[in-house]
């Protein structure tokens, strides 16, 4: 069964450092999402791509976060510089139209 791949699974970084996460969606899924999930909360959308174009990045803190999906397939989310409050689970999901979104295993980020 096809799955969304993410790496790394865990990342520990010091504040003010740069960090990057990678996501490979299910083959053929044109829509890709990055979410942030704080413990005890539901996922919150950071950015949504349709192919290589950003559809919604209204909740992305653009002073320190950036995301790209250059060829409309895999995607990278970057944080620079990382802050203590960025510690969370970062989830990538993909979907085909209005069907359910399929999530990857996530990257657990700890900023010290």
């Amino acid at each position: 069964e096809a799955e969304v791949a993410q790496s790394p699974r865990y990342k520990i970084t010091e504040k003010s450092q740069a960090v990057a996460f990678w996501c490979d969606p299910i083959s053929g899924h044109a829509t890709l999402y990055w979410y942030r999930q704080i413990l005890g909360q539901g996922p919150e959308l950071l950015v949504q791509f349709q192919d290589e174009s950003v559809v919604d990045d209204s909740q992305l803190p653009k002073d320190r976060f950036s995301a790209e999906r250059l060829k409309g397939v895999d995607s990278t989310l970057k944080i620079q510089p990382a802050e203590l409050g960025d510690s969370a689970m970062y989830l990538c999901a993909s979907s085909l139209g209005l069907t359910g979104q399929y999530f990857g295993p996530g990257t657990r980020l700890t900023v010290t």
Partner: protein, 108 residues
């Protein structure tokens, strides 16, 4: 503002004790109501999508139903392996808005 409220926040059941989880929503133009299961430290696992009031979907011991303002996830004769956090989300004119989830613990 689109909102999703799930209740209860946590639920403890004995194995075999059936119950229901609630998801109430306010959204401008519902395009879908989604249920996910999330195990600790893992990404959410897609369970169901419901599109219109009166619709029902089933999977093993789980059944999801939808009205105009609420969705229920009914769990029949749960087993310990059903222990997880269950997330509800709706899709309005924008993307998914998630609730905080219901943490379910099923004891043997």
């Amino acid at each position: 503002e689109d909102q999703v409220t799930q209740s209860p926040e946590a639920l403890r059941l004995q194995e075999g004790e059936s119950s229901s989880l609630n998801c109430s929503y306010t959204v401008s133009g519902l395009r879908g109501l989604f249920w996910y299961r999330q195990d600790p430290g893992k990404g959410p696992e897609f369970l169901f999508t419901l599109y219109s009031a009166g619709e029902e979907k089933e999977k093993e011991r789980l059944k999801a139903t939808l009205t105009k303002k609420e969705s229920f996830l009914h769990i029949t004769a749960p087993k310990p392996e059903d222990s997880a956090t269950y997330l509800c989300a709706h899709s309005g004119y924008s993307t998914l808005t998630f609730g905080k989830g219901t943490m379910l613990l099923v004891s043997p």
